[in-house]
């Protein structure tokens, strides 16, 4: 049976949960300090929660959560985290506002909205070449204006994406993915997308903005490619090379 609790009561549950997690014990006095209320207020709230079998509480002892209470607490925390993620990483809210808004909204949203939100966050993080971020000057923009000179308007970009993504084309003016280079082709790296889990390792190995790369050859079976960067040979899969944008020289 779902407990329908008021936001305040949910905050109590959350506070107790946090205290238990950090300090292994939740005292009435600590709860009062954290929630900025008097001990008497806390006591009366705890009684209500105890009546709903969400916590174990008897006067002058410490407080613990029942399994149902713990369950509820985890749900609330998750809602909080998803919202915070959304505010911070999708909407780029300033950090001070993130926690504040998340605390306020976490009590209001239901499971369906929550899951949609999760899906949306994932989508925005993954959307091809977008890497959407808030930018104080231009509003929401994708990763392409890492290099402002190469910026093309969002309308043009989406049109050209729709038209073709296969052959270089106008994706980002004259930048192409490294995987599109033929054997013998050379270029200068202008950006490395973060989508690839290996991005950091590649950068540590010298695939950084400004480096020259040359595709030495493509493996006989068509996949990994052998590139020369910083004077040595490195082999990469095309899948990884897709995330390295170069301008042809």
């Amino acid at each position: 049976m779902d407990h329908v609790l008021s936001p305040i009561m949910e905050d109590y549950i959350e506070t107790i949960f946090e205290l238990l997690r950090r300090e292994q014990v939740a005292r009435v006095s600590d709860i009062a300090t954290r929630m900025k209320v008097t001990m008497a207020t806390v006591t009366s709230a705890l009684r209500k929660l105890s009546a709903k079998k969400l916590i174990n509480y008897s006067p002058y002892s410490t407080v613990s959560l029942t399994p149902a209470g713990k369950n509820l607490a985890e749900k609330i925390v998750r809602r909080h985290e998803v919202l915070a993620d959304f505010f911070q990483n999708v909407l780029s809210l300033p950090p001070s506002k993130v926690a504040e808004n998340a605390c306020r909204m976490e009590h209001q949203i239901d499971d369906l909205l929550l899951e949609r939100l999760v899906e949306y966050i994932e989508f925005v993080k993954l959307c091809p070449n977008m890497n959407i971020k808030w930018n104080e000057k231009n509003g929401f923009r994708c990763g392409q204006d890492e290099n402002p000179k190469k910026f093309i308007s969002c309308e043009d970009c989406s049109k050209s994406l729709a038209r073709n993504t296969t052959h270089g084309g106008q994706q980002m003016n004259d930048s192409i993915g490294l995987h599109e280079l033929k054997a013998g082709g050379r270029g200068r790296i202008i950006a490395v997308s973060l989508k690839n889990p290996g991005a950091k390792r590649m950068m540590e190995m010298g695939i950084v903005r400004g480096s020259l790369v040359e595709v030495e050859r493509i493996a006989p079976l068509g996949d990994p490619i052998d590139i020369k960067v910083k004077g040595y040979h490195l082999s990469l899969r095309k899948e990884e090379a897709k995330n390295i944008f170069i301008e042809i020289m």
């Binding site: 950090p95 390792r201 052998d226 990884e240």
Partner: protein, 706 residues
């Protein structure tokens, strides 16, 4: 009070002058192990592909009455680790806090190697910079101003050529002078925004000798780089982890918005910027650079037309060498042992029932001898592997095969442990440490015993010539090896799509330049492996042979039950009465459908200890069973007793079934759980049973090889 007593202890330690620890670190394949061997006189494995060393190796050096501990570490590209062996190297440096770090740089590849150096400079530990492979750099027309580099970074710089042992004594001198008079390296300075962030975090960290993390500047930078492991260490130690965590987040967020990319990537950019500056200051390149020989080889060896055929040809040559070429030498060794046993037998009167004679002739010579005669094959196999490893072709194989491996659900790099597995499964399983993803690693480890190891070679070398005529010998060997490879592919595919699902790790592999393998290097390698094989024969296999001989001899049947039997029937009856006979007989119903009799059964049990024991045990059983005193070679005996189909089934079963005990133990250690070791052990045995059963029954039904 407490601090006081601590001070006392550290003072005390000082007066004892604990042995200084010097760690060798550097990018993979930069020549660390080569230098380690030069410094310490050891013979650790050196080869020309990244990721050869996967364990920490230590050795002591005495020099003028002073003691020094030198440690060889696995290679790493950065101090933020990606795979297990890199983590081992990184953790050694920050946990064991060596007194000095020797950073071995591949001078022909200076820029990328300095990336690690830049991070080492931040540690605050004294560093000696070694510019190794300076011969290659010279050939490529690169000059480096050592004095300037040394001044810029405030570290001593030494130039070496590892494989020719040039510069070793100078390096040792530098190590000593640096230990007695350490300098603090000069860390690089980042752009203002970064420095601001670093300052902020440093204010919240403490430098202390017994903390879990090293210097605070280094730690602050790693926190900005979002190094998960370092974060955990700091959280554990820090009095107010929450506040620090919030601070780190805010610093990272600020940097993200300034640089418009993750701080860890922005910092990589900056480091390479700094490095480019250093290189501009200290090096000059000869503009008339020739195309290197290595590139010329690759333009054939990796080309569309020749790449794959050359690979197959190489593999063919490897097996041809280990099998056909070794044949005459092996025949000769076999002849020697037959001769030896007939000489020994001559010491006793004809028909003697002496137990000692039986132990010597039937136990030790038949057991150990039948294993030792395959030494030539083993030597040639390791010769071939050493050439592949030292030439640099190994990494190319990973490059050529990645597409296929990818289809199987494995990583191209998995091919390197697998190739190593042709020699022995144990180093193969250890080599899986270079695989970044746990599931890739486990899968490779689990299917690796299916790659036919050197210890199984004697089994094939015994059986194939016994049952197959010359033109068929090579193809049959190929079928066995390929069956192993095919099964490992099928199993890997199955594992990856069921219990070991997961994303593919990115394939990022350095292809080192080709090098001419040195005769000395190859011989050392061959000698080591050959010696190991002989030592195994002289210890484990000798011991087991004696045990197996005893088991096949005792208990003796009661005298009266043997009355009226011919000599041949007596030996048969005696053997059946012995412990081994009884075990074999008990197994017989189980292995009958595979066409195996009880003698093969006992040999299979013995093979669990080491695969070669299979051959030893057959030698023992048949040597005892010989009714007449004429020694005949084991092959002829086998030919008389079994048909080719059974021979083939034996090889198949030995190929697939449970790996030897040592492999089992290594799988347990590397996977970290008994679960996987048992899974591998039982799984493989079941597969072996099913496959052999199917092959035998089909063969019999169609009358092939019976």
């Amino acid at each position: 009070m407490e601090t006081l007593s601590k001070d006392k202890i550290s003072l005390k330690n000082k007066s004892y002058q604990a042995t200084k620890v010097v760690a060798l670190t550097g990018n993979p394949n930069s020549g660390k192990t080569t230098i380690f061997n030069n410094l310490t006189g050891s013979r650790q494995h050196v080869a020309n592909y990244p990721g050869v060393t996967v364990e920490i190796k230590e050795s002591r050096v005495r020099n003028g009455g002073r003691d020094l501990k030198i440690v060889d570490l696995p290679g790493c590209y950065s101090l933020t680790p990606y795979s297990k062996e890199e983590l081992i190297a990184r953790n050694f440096i920050i946990d064991r806090k060596p007194d000095l770090v020797v950073d071995i740089i591949d001078l022909s590849n200076l820029e990328r190697n300095l990336y690690l150096t830049v991070q080492l400079l931040e540690l605050g530990i004294p560093i000696v910079l070694v510019l190794n492979q300076s011969d290659l750099a010279k050939r490529a027309g690169l000059r480096c101003d050592l004095a300037k580099l040394s001044r810029l970074l405030n570290v001593p710089v030494v130039e070496t050529v590892g494989n020719r042992n040039i510069g070793t004594s100078q390096l040792l001198d530098t190590i000593w002078s640096e230990l007695s008079n350490p300098r603090t390296p000069r860390p690089v300075i980042y752009e203002n925004d970064f420095e601001e962030g670093i300052r902020q975090l440093c204010g919240d960290l403490k430098n202390s000798r017994d903390s879990d993390y090293p210097d605070k500047r280094w730690t602050a930078i790693k926190l900005i780089e979002n190094d998960v492991d370092i974060k955990k260490r700091v959280w554990r130690m820090h009095p107010d982890a929450d506040a620090l965590s919030v601070l780190v987040d805010s610093v990272r967020r600020r940097l993200t918005s300034i640089y418009d990319t993750d701080p860890e990537l922005a910092i990589a950019d900056q480091r390479y910027g700094v490095i480019a500056g250093i290189c501009r200051e200290c090096t000059s390149a000869d503009p008339r650079r020739r195309r290197s020989a290595s590139d010329a080889i690759d333009s054939v060896a990796l080309s569309k037309t020749f790449g794959l055929p050359l690979f197959l040809l190489t593999m063919y040559v490897v097996f041809h060498l280990t099998f056909t070429t070794a044949q005459p030498a092996m025949d000769f060794m076999e002849y020697c042992f037959v001769f030896l046993s007939s000489v020994l037998e001559g010491l006793w009167p004809e028909g003697s029932q002496s137990l000692l004679k039986s132990l010597l002739v039937d136990g030790i010579i038949a057991g150990v001898g039948s294993v030792v005669i395959f030494l030539p094959n083993i030597l040639l196999l390791f010769l071939a592997i050493a050439v592949l490893e030292d030439s640099g072709y190994m990494a190319r194989i990973a490059f050529l095969m990645d597409r296929i491996m990818n289809k199987i659900g494995l990583h191209g790099k998995s091919f390197i442990p697998m190739l190593t597995g042709f020699g022995c499964s144990i180093p193969g399983i250890m080599a899986t440490r270079t695989l970044e993803h746990e599931h890739d690693r486990l899968t490779t480890m689990l299917v690796l015993p299916l790659i036919s190891c050197g210890a199984r070679l004697p089994i094939y070398a015994l059986i194939i010539p016994a049952f197959f005529s010359a033109p068929w010998q090579a193809p049959v060997l190929w079928i066995i090896y390929i069956t192993g490879i095919a099964l490992s592919i099928v199993c890997a595919r199955l594992l990856r799509s069921t219990i070991l699902k997961g994303n593919q790790a990115p394939f990022v592999l350095e292809l080192p330049p080709y090098r001419m393998p040195t005769v000395k290097g190859i011989f050392i390698h061959m000698w080591q492996k050959g010696w190991m094989y002989l030592r195994k024969a002289g210890t484990i296999i000798l011991g087991i042979s004696i045990v197996l001989w005893a088991m096949s001899t005792f208990p003796k049947p009661p005298e009266e039950s043997l009355h009226g039997l011919t000599q041949e029937q007596v030996t048969e009856a005696e053997m059946a009465y012995s412990v081994a006979g009884r075990i074999g007989k008990a197994m017989e119903p189980l292995i009958k459908p595979l066409s195996f009799d009880w003698k093969i059964g006992t040999a299979l049990v013995g093979a669990l200890a080491a695969k070669e024991v299979f051959v030893a045990q057959l030698g023992i059983v048949y040597s005892m069973g010989e009714a007449d005193e004429e020694s005949e070679s084991l092959r002829d005996t086998l030919r008389r007793n079994y048909n080719p189909l059974t021979g083939f089934c034996i090889m198949l079963f030995c190929l697939i079934s449970a790996p030897c005990i040592a492999t089992f133990a290594v799988t347990k250690k590397e996977s970290g759980s008994w679960k996987w070791a048992f899974f591998q052990f039982i799984g493989l045995t079941v597969i072996a049973y099913i496959v052999t059963f199917a092959v035998y029954q089909t063969g019999r039904a169609f009358g092939i090889g019976v």
